[in-house]
């Protein structure tokens, strides 16, 4: 019986010929990413709970400060200092203020075929480059850090066949929200979401990253995509080669298969308080908003900023809306600067912040207050996610978010008045 992409990657990491869904294997990890959400806890455990603290392979570690930067309290500052001092002492690759962790990983590290643990749930992002990335807690992370290995339950795979091409004004975010809406917030629990089909050809890297990134919101362990010319071009431009490019065998077994015709996808909004509470955007029109957010590991890339700038050019942000625009990395920021996009956002009255998790994380930058409404390109809209428990978050595409920021209420780009 053939293997799925996920099974092949795990088999290779376990040093065995083949694996089957349901097996548990000990695997060698290629990369271990941790951010300022939990690294200080990992460090505490490293010092306090281990008889013989050691790190199996320093070169595998990547530590990134992205959630609370610039620091918002002495407590945050102390946790950053702990992380920074440890990274410095052990010569761990350390990125502070350079961008959101998953964006840094995609720009600088991820290679097809790798098995990556990240101490952050959206580690599933790396499937856009055919790598198996999955989120773990700080204890699992510590174990992997010390041994270079971990145990892994081989997940089943759900296959998504993509056909056609997204219509004008409809984006990858609308597609993945539609998929999550269809299968539900538990629809892919513990499973791999594998995306294939001729529809993939119409999806650029930014689109693929957006799709894989959100899969954890359907409960997925990870997401995977095949490595085609588009992915290879992205890799080559960054001077990287695949570890190995895999595809699911023709006789691999999938638990479910879905087909999505991209031509049928429409602009989508995920209503409060659930990512799968998905409706066509036109059903949410007119809801007054207080804040809008364009950014995050899901939609903070150059193509997203281009969409936003195109809509906002010559327009102003509504006077009663706070529109935060936050590029996902320094690289994205500089490219946006060079293309004149940042200038357009500033001219329109947006609030442009340094690359970081910002409003999506909802902890210290652009938080919303009691009774306020946010429309966001972030990953989650759970109750209280962006600030006060009595606030509401709608998730939508960069286009819908930007149009709403101009209108002062939920609005799609095609309906926005000149």
């Amino acid at each position: 019986m053939g293997m799925t992409m996920a099974e092949k990657i795990i088999a290779s990491a376990a040093g065995v010929e083949s694996v089957r869904a349901g097996d548990i294997h000990t695997v060698e990890l290629d990369r271990l990413m941790s951010n300022d959400g939990t690294t200080h806890l990992t460090i505490d455990m490293y010092h306090q709970k281990l008889k013989h603290p050691r790190i199996a392979d320093i070169r595998k570690l990547v530590w990134i400060i992205d959630h609370n930067i610039p620091a918002d309290s002495p407590k945050t500052a102390a946790s950053h200092k702990k992380m920074r001092d440890f990274a410095r002492a052990h010569e761990i690759d350390f990125w502070e203020g350079k961008g959101v962790c998953h964006q840094i990983m995609m720009e600088n590290y991820v290679r097809p075929g790798e098995l990556i643990f990240g101490a952050d749930s959206h580690t599933c992002t790396y499937g856009a480059l055919g790598a198996f990335g999955t989120g773990v807690g700080c204890t699992d992370y510590l174990y992997a850090m010390v041994t270079g290995k971990s145990w892994l339950l081989v997940p089943e795979t759900i296959r998504f066949n993509l056909k056609g091409k997204l219509p004008e004004g409809v984006y990858a975010r609308d597609l993945i929200l539609t998929i999550i809406g269809k299968i539900g917030a538990n629809g892919a629990n513990y499973k791999v979401m594998e995306f294939v089909g001729e529809g993939m050809k119409s999806l650029a890297m930014d689109d693929r990253i957006a799709i894989c990134n959100l899969c954890v919101e359907a409960g997925a362990k990870t997401a995977l995509m095949e490595v085609d010319e588009i992915a290879m071009e992205y890799l080559k431009a960054r001077g990287r080669e695949p570890k190995v490019s895999v595809q699911s065998d023709a006789d691999a077994v999938f638990t479910e298969e879905y087909t999505f015709d991209l031509c049928q996808i429409v602009s989508i909004v995920a209503k409060p308080d659930f990512v799968d509470a998905v409706v066509p955007a036109e059903e949410a029109l007119g809801v007054k908003i207080d804040e809008a957010f364009l950014g995050s590991c899901n939609n903070g890339r150059l193509s997203d900023l281009r969409v936003g700038a195109m809509i906002l050019k010559g327009r102003k942000v509504h006077p009663h809306v706070r529109f935060l625009v936050v590029p996902a990395s320094q690289e994205v920021y500089e490219a946006a600067l060079a293309e004149g996009l940042i200038g357009i956002f500033m001219e329109a009255g947006a609030i442009v912040m340094n690359p970081n998790c910002s409003v999506c994380w909802g902890s210290c930058q652009g938080v919303i207050g009691a009774g306020e409404v946010l429309i966001s390109t972030g990953t989650r809209n759970f109750k209280g996610r962006a600030g006060h428990p009595d606030s509401k978050v709608y998730l939508a595409s960069a286009a819908t978010v930007t149009a709403s920021a101009a209108a002062g209420e939920i609005m799609t780009a095609d309906r926005l008045k000149a």
Binding site: I69, D290, Q330, M346, I351, V367
Partner: protein, 419 residues
């Protein structure tokens, strides 16, 4: 007998021929500035006082800057109250994310030479850079001005500060004002007006004068004053009247003190933890390890400051494990810095660039530090606990010193910063 600048402004404003220090007079207020952090209190006191309308809504300006972007859930309450107050009382001059209050007041043309202006922030002395009498007050006082359009003041004595000569290439107006504060002490100018003159001052840009007027409150001054000239005309987009041109201290005016400086003798300096008047030459502390640099604030967040930093950082990178946070003082400055390539230089050097606002200076967010950390900052205060715990050391400096220090990760004297 001749008059000082502040005496001339107050006399003209009150319609008297002359005034003298110690006189208690009532001035007609030309403009007021209220910012986000205190608007809820101003609004409450205004209504508690029983006022039903603002004396002249066009003379009031409401600016959100300390809380942009909101870092705590309760911050947005200030925006809601501010917006509601502005709407109820017909205020149209509202800036919700355009930058720091003191930058906007002159940049957006709200203050002209000879104006009498009050604001709910101590650094309201800043507008003296264009020859206005401007000073900080509390929110209760502001509420009474909103209702009456007037305020009682005691005419202050004036300390005249004369600076002559050419500044060395690595010395800025920030070093000059820090030196003065060190010489006068934190209360050396309490209740007094600081009047600046001399060819060094005349050669300074309005932006550089702004830095000095901004920090005047740190030696206790009521206000700072610079004579309006052609640079003021260009900055404000006006043509000066004779009266405005005449806002210069008369040769026979009475000053309580005169201090003179020779510009060539000045050196780059720092205000050391934790007092603004604890001044030392940068060279004395060179080599001290630092963790962070902050370039921004109403003191030194202008285009001239960003460009000064960029000229030092160009083609180089901030030292490893050191953070450089850059927060421009206004939206316009940010756009100008984008347009002339300054932002690109700063980003490529590794700067963390945030939206225009008070940022780290007011110490609520924006780069807070913890025990044992050191920051070199271009803002105006380094009080204990200002930017984190009371075991954080804050050194105030010019943008040139700050940029040079960011490169080495240690306190560093800049080589040159002439643009």
């Amino acid at each position: 007998m001749g008059q000082t600048i502040i005496e001339k402004i107050i006399a003209r404003n009150t319609g008297m021929d002359t005034v003298k220090p110690g006189d208690i007079v009532t001035v007609q207020v030309d403009r007021v500035m209220i910012h986000d952090i205190f608007i809820p209190f101003v609004a409450e006191k205004f209504e508690e006082m029983g006022f039903t309308k603002i004396w002249d809504p066009d003379k009031a300006v409401l600016i959100y800057d300390h809380l942009v972007p909101a870092s705590q859930v309760e911050d947005t309450r200030h925006f809601r109250i501010g917006d509601a107050f502005a709407e109820k009382y017909g205020m149209n001059n509202v800036h919700r994310s355009d930058g720091i209050c003191h930058q906007l007041m002159t940049e957006a043309g709200y203050v002209k030479p000879g104006n009498v202006v009050f604001g709910t922030d101590s650094h309201t002395t800043t507008y003296g850079c264009v020859g206005a009498f401007s000073s900080g007050i509390g929110y209760t006082e502001m509420a009474s001005i909103l209702g009456t359009g007037t305020m009682w003041i005691k005419v202050p004595e004036t300390i005249r500060v004369v600076i002559e000569g050419t500044l060395p290439s690595n010395v800025t107006s920030k070093d000059m004002i820090l030196r003065l504060i060190g010489d006068l002490g934190a209360d050396g100018a309490t209740y007094r007006a600081l009047e600046f003159a001399g060819d060094t001052v005349e050669a300074m840009s309005v932006s550089s004068r702004m830095t000095m007027a901004n920090m005047a409150v740190e030696c206790g001054a009521k206000c700072a004053l610079f004579t309006p000239d052609e640079k003021t005309e260009e900055y404000c987009g006006i043509s000066l009247t004779d009266a405005e041109r005449g806002l210069v201290g008369d040769a026979d005016a009475a000053y309580c003190r005169e201090i003179r400086y020779q510009a060539e003798e000045l050196v780059p300096v720092l205000a050391c933890p934790s007092q603004v008047d604890h001044i030392e030459p940068v060279s004395k502390l060179a080599g001290t390890k630092i963790d962070q640099v902050f370039i921004g604030s109403c003191t030194n967040g202008r285009l001239e400051d960003l460009m000064m930093a960029a000229s030092i950082l160009k083609g180089k990178r901030v030292a490893p494990y050191v953070k450089l946070i850059v927060t421009p003082a206004s939206r316009l400055i940010y756009q100008q810095a984008v347009g002339n390539g300054t932002m690109e230089i700063l980003s490529k050097a590794g700067a963390v660039i945030t939206h225009p606002g008070c940022g780290l200076c007011c110490g609520r967010t924006g780069g807070i530090l913890s025990d044992g950390e050191r920051v070199v900052a271009t803002n105006n205060r380094n009080f204990l606990g200002r930017m984190g715990t009371s075991k954080v050391e804050i050194y105030l400096a010019s943008p040139a010193t700050a940029a040079a220090s960011a490169l080495t990760g240690t306190i560093m004297e800049p080589e040159a910063c002439r643009l």
